[in-house]
């Protein structure tokens, strides 16, 4: 089923956006700063997102992700820096600007007494050219729950409703804050397909997530934030540059575990086959691994210990609570 406008036909993508950012930039951030008390939450952050792009912002809790995203959404003021979202400053963005963005936030418990269908339907009324609410409910897989009160949804169903409410206004730019938290693997895969479909239709998406597999699967580009700045950015497959992607060859020789990083693993293997192979011609415990996005990420944000310590903070997802 196609989700179509109930009030107007979509415009061709080639038409220039009046007042929009030059060069098809959906989000433009330069030198963004935000301080809470003594904590510099965002410390000169730069970020660009092109129209139609999916960018994942990664980083440990407290790195400044949520603060940055909330500034872009117009929820927070900033102390300094330049911010343009769909060509406008979020601080002064009016209702017409809000009609062009969609926000899927964390931790919502609202509208408990409405049914799923009612919730999506009335939210659609706020927008000038909404999608068909029933089709949106269908797209997030909640049609069987359409007549059920929101209060009785499971956590994952609730998140899918949040997504439906975020996209029913057909936003040009969609903010997804840890959207698949609480999803089972099947629902998560369905959700990924939905995100790809949104992108195929031209929606720009800014995604924050702790799920590195999700970032690798969905994002055209990832930006890693640490201590309020972007420390690395690029396509998920080449984040951190070639040095971060050097394969690791590990094996056991004379009962001792050995490993070696090399850009020429095949050459190393033939050398090992000649020198380290046992009587049967096999190299014990041989493995050749390439660092995953998660390995690269953990390296960038200061190793697994640091990330784990951040995750254990009692503040949980309210990383920017000041």
């Amino acid at each position: 089923m196609e989700i179509t406008s109930t009030t107007a036909t979509p415009q061709p993508a080639t038409r220039p956006r009046p007042g929009g950012a030059p060069g098809g930039t959906a989000v433009h951030v330069r030198g963004l700063r935000k301080r809470y008390g003594t904590k510099q939450a965002v410390d000169g952050l730069d970020l660009d997102i092109d129209e139609g792009e999916i960018v994942a912002v990664l980083g440990p809790n407290g790195a400044g992700k949520t603060t940055t995203v909330e500034i872009l959404e117009g929820f927070r003021s900033r102390d300094g820096g330049e911010v343009r979202v769909l060509g406008e400053d979020p601080v002064t963005g009016g209702h017409a600007w809000r009609a062009r963005i969609g926000v899927v936030a964390q931790d919502s418990r609202d509208q408990a007494e409405l049914t799923v269908a009612e919730s999506v339907r009335h939210t659609a009324r706020y927008y000038p050219r909404p999608a068909d609410p029933d089709a949106v409910v269908d797209a997030v897989g909640l049609t069987p729950k359409a007549r059920v009160r929101v209060r009785s949804l499971s956590g994952g169903q609730r998140r899918r409703l949040d997504v439906a409410l975020g996209i029913v206004g057909r936003p040009e730019l969609l903010f997804l804050d840890e959207p698949t938290t609480g999803f089972d693997p099947h629902a998560r895969r369905d959700f990924w397909d939905l995100v790809h479909a949104l992108r195929a239709s031209g929606t720009t998406i800014l995604l924050t997530t702790h799920d590195l597999a999700e970032a690798a699967y969905l994002a055209d580009r990832v930006a890693v934030v640490r201590d309020g700045v972007v420390v690395a950015e690029g396509p998920p497959g080449s984040l951190g540059g070639p040095e971060a992607r050097v394969p690791l060859v590990s094996w056991t020789q004379d009962g001792v575990a050995r490993s070696e990083r090399t850009t020429t693993p095949t050459a190393l293997l033939s050398r090992l086959a000649a020198t380290a192979a046992g009587p049967d011609g096999e190299i014990a415990d041989l493995r050749v691994t390439r660092p995953t996005l998660e390995d690269v990420y953990l390296e960038l944000v200061g190793g697994p210990e640091s990330a784990a310590a951040e995750d254990a903070r009692p503040t949980g997802t309210q990383e920017d609570a000041a």
Partner: protein, 288 residues
């Protein structure tokens, strides 16, 4: 979610600003529909708001069924004396208490944050609350009047002037209560504490404002304190409508003081508006 749907979801119209946004009037109606629907589905709130004044009227009128209220030879049935206070209390419940609690809860549960991210104007959000408040206040007052008239034989005013007074006191009181509710909604620190913070304020005002006890029988200092707040004046305005004119001498100034009723309620309306506009937040306090 089928493969067919996934292929073509939500093409955002690109390359131009959105069409004309829905009007504030339309959105107020949309919000009013949502407010009414949610209210009616919270059965405990419905029962509390509608039944509380009626039950209180029933209890007091039954306990004191033989008693007369008054002094110096001017007396009326207890139920008749009690009714105006219950109407005032009902207006306070649906206006001030319901709004203060519901906004505090909606700030806490993310309703306001979500609405803030949509093109919905704040005016339409409050418009929806106003419609809900009006609807519940009218329904509740009609119930109260019906029970008083049919069960306790309280005579209803026959004079058009009395009903005119009733209309403006009711409207001004409802508006003042609602606006003060918006202002007070920022006081509770969380949705869970909202009832605990708001209810005592309402209860104390009820006791000192002559809702449960005859106002003329209260100590002077208590009358003075109550005179600062709108509930006393709301109840007094309602007494002028439902009590016989000879009871006017029991009032503090031996007068219904309708001018002062209008002045104090209007003053609180303005104070509530200013406080409401200045203190209203879309976000929780701990959200920074």
């Amino acid at each position: 979610m089928s493969a067919v749907q996934q292929a073509t979801v939500a093409a955002p119209p690109r390359g131009r600003r959105p069409d004309r946004l829905p009007g504030v009037g339309t959105l107020t109606l949309v919000r009013a529909g949502v407010e009414l629907r949610q209210f009616l589905r919270e059965r405990d709130a419905v029962i509390f708001v509608f039944a509380y004044p009626v039950i209180m009227l029933a209890i007091f009128s039954t306990v004191f069924s033989d008693a007369q209220q008054g002094a110096e030879g001017v007396e009326v049935d207890f139920a008749r004396y009690f009714l105006p206070g219950m109407i005032a209390t009902g207006i306070m419940l649906t206006g001030f208490q319901s709004i203060a609690i519901s906004i505090a809860v909606e700030r806490d549960d993310g309703t306001l944050r979500r609405l803030r991210a949509t093109p919905l104007p704040a005016t339409a959000y409050f418009g929806g609350k106003v419609v809900l408040t009006l609807a519940t206040s009218v329904a509740q007052t009609v119930t109260l009047l019906a029970v008083a008239a049919l069960v306790y034989d309280v005579p209803m005013p026959t004079d058009a002037a009395d009903w005119a007074t009733f209309a403006w006191v009711f409207t001004l009181g409802t508006a003042t209560g609602a606006v003060c509710g918006v202002g007070f909604s920022s006081v509770p620190r969380s949705g869970r504490s909202a009832s605990a913070v708001v209810t005592p304020v309402v209860l104390i005002l009820q006791f000192i404002s002559g809702v449960f006890f005859a106002f003329y029988a209260l100590p002077g200092w208590m009358q003075t304190v109550a005179s600062v707040f709108p509930l006393k004046w709301l109840a007094q305005g309602m007494r002028s409508v439902f009590l016989p004119p000879e009871l006017e001498i029991l009032e503090v100034g031996e007068s219904w003081q309708l001018g002062a009723v209008a002045a104090v309620l209007t003053a609180w309306l303005v104070v509530g508006l200013v406080l409401g506009v200045r203190s209203f937040r879309w976000r929780r306090r701990d959200d920074g």
